[in-house]
Amino acid sequence: MVKLSVNNRNIEAKSGDTILSVLKRNGIKVPTLCHLEGLFPSGACRMCVVEVEGLPGLVPSCAYPVQDGMRIQTHSPRAVRARKTIVELLLADHPDDCLYCVRNGDCDLQNLAEELGVRQRRYAGKKSMHQIDSSSPSLIRDPAKCILCGKCVRVCEEIQGVSAIDFIGRGSRARVGPAFDEGLNVSSCINCGQCVTVCPTGALREQSALKDVIDALNDPGKFVVVQHAPSVSVTLGEEFGIKPGTDMIGAMTTALRRLGFDRVFDTSFSADLTIMEEGSELVKRIREGGPLPLLTSCSPGWIKFVEQFYPELIGHVSSCKSPQQMLGAIAKSYFAEREGIDPARMYSVSIMPCTAKKFEAERPELSSGGLADVDAVLTTREAARLIRMRGLDLNSLPPEPADTPFGERSSAGKLFGVSGGVMEAAARSAHYLLTGEEMADPVIKSLRGLDGIKEATITIGGLELGLAVASGLANARKLLDQIRAGRKDLHFMEVMTCPGGCIAGGGQPVSSDPNAIRARMKSLYAIDTGAANRVSHRNKQIQKIYEEFLGEPLGERSHKLLHTRYVTRDVMI
């Protein structure tokens, strides 16, 4: 235990703590730009400098350990002046186009300039010239807005284990980009968008599909359907100032209908469908001897990751399309046929917590008869923009139910939004498929929570199944390397690209608050606890679509509409 004084207040701390973590714990705010919770400090931005009595210079609180007897001033004139100067210097080489920027009002640099009272352009100089990289189907890089904090580089390397981007060049020519300064589209980028959620400015953003969607909504010749991913209803509210984790499903459905969508569907329905197919695939592989472990296929960033880094494991990946693509495929076949709509006239939109879904929707394998399963993908953030654009406020809309037939869901489908959820949902249905009985307790506790790697062994009808769950692809790497090295006790492995699952996806409201992620997770668990139907195979509409249209899981029609294949990719890794 060490004792120190901060702003003339006595505070106790553990030795080994950084000054910043102690300040945070005691509710004292110093601004940061490059700090990332849980990762090794880089000390790049110097925003968090504080004055420590007896030390000659200001110290970066994020990287400086506390010492006994330390006397710290967090907002001394010198510290505040230093911070302000840093912001002024950053602004001197920043395009002054906040009004046109997607992060206007939600930008760390803008907020700091306001907080520190920057009212003048004190430093004038030549601005750096950069090209915007819009080559990726998911992301846009605008290096002119980059302040070189390096968060995107660290997330890509340390959390995702991808390292698609790094610093290039030196000094005033330094910039962030992929190898050989090429476009993201030919790099090893997996489109996950974690870089977007940590970017303090508008230097990284999603490739927006808003214009396409608005055009479709305004086209009387188009029948526009929309689906929303399981996690979106518990995150969208944050964009409207609602407490993190609040389930806004009813108001969101109303908003989408008022925007002019002809049908509002729930991707949790097709998550149930995925469980029917993937659960059957698991049972088949167990009975027929592999290849095991079966790897989940819902998360498109993860799929590209396997294709690039572990091509020899592609055979392990489930052939199931993701829920997004499944819903798209049955909307343009089963639903179109039932309603007598020409599928070529149908425009299928999805609202996803994800930027990689934009890439997925463009995969040529994921279409039938020349028609893409999904035509446009909006992130949660874009959906909020669309709703605001129409003057709608989620706070004041009455709730409405989703449309049939793809509006009914089990809470197992809803769990797809959180790490471990696909596994739980699959275990519930696999249990039924193998034994004809329901699981006594549908919750597998050790697969819940935000840990990066979770494992469990369950027994179904005398059969012992090894289950593993990873989120954040650096964690997936660890398990894959074990499998590559010969680990044999796993039957099923769920991987979600983003740490914690879709609730923390690259398309979600930008939030630096880890408590928000936790609240989103708890909300999905609460929905499951209170649900009337907690298993995918008891979803009435699922049973109906198999009776009327698909036949049986893994049957001929399923195979054609609901399953896909993967490719190996030769990119610079």
Partner: protein, 159 residues
């Protein structure tokens, strides 16, 4: 597979990321530049992502990513040359050849490299073309020098 890069890598068996710079230097010495292929092989050998290797390599002026031209022009930007106007010399070269330092003209004839000091301060501002020094160059002289090499190059190619 690139055999000449592979022979270099074979000398670095079991080495980690701290061998990156010596490896890059050796490969560039052998090949004249760092090709995409070479970077890929080095990355696989040291278990480093290509973006990281490119980041390190672009931090230093000595590495290039395009093959050098038939005539490789080194422009001295040392103190003496700077005082004597080497900035103008470099500007003329980049404008005339339409390439930046580190690049090679499309016809493969010329490439430019900026060097800190080539130890010929008495001749400032100085450039070296394939090791041959040209002293006291001015924008006008540069144009003339380029003309000479272009002619030489054309003769060499068309006989």
């Amino acid at each position: 597979m690139n055999p000449s890069v592979q022979t270099i890598l074979d000398k670095y068996v079991g080495e980690g990321r701290d061998s990156l710079i010596p490896l890059l230097q050796e490969v560039q010495d052998r090949e004249g530049y760092l090709s995409r292929d070479a970077l890929k092989l080095i990355g696989r050998h040291l278990n480093l992502p290509a973006s990281k290797i490119y980041g390190v390599a672009t931090f230093y002026n000595q590495f290039r990513f395009e093959a050098v031209g038939r005539y490789h022009i080194q422009v001295c930007r040392g103190t003496a040359c700077h005082v004597k106007g080497s900035a103008k010399v470099l500007e003329t070269l980049t404008r005339e050849l339409k390439i930046r330092p580190g690049q090679t003209t499309r016809d493969g004839l010329f490439s430019i490299e900026v060097v800190a000091c080539i130890g010929a301060c008495g001749l400032a501002p100085v450039i070296a073309v394939n090791g041959e020094f040209h002293a006291g160059v001015t924008p006008e002289k540069i144009k003339e020098i380029l003309r000479t090499y272009r002619k030489q190059g054309a003769e060499a190619i068309h006989g």
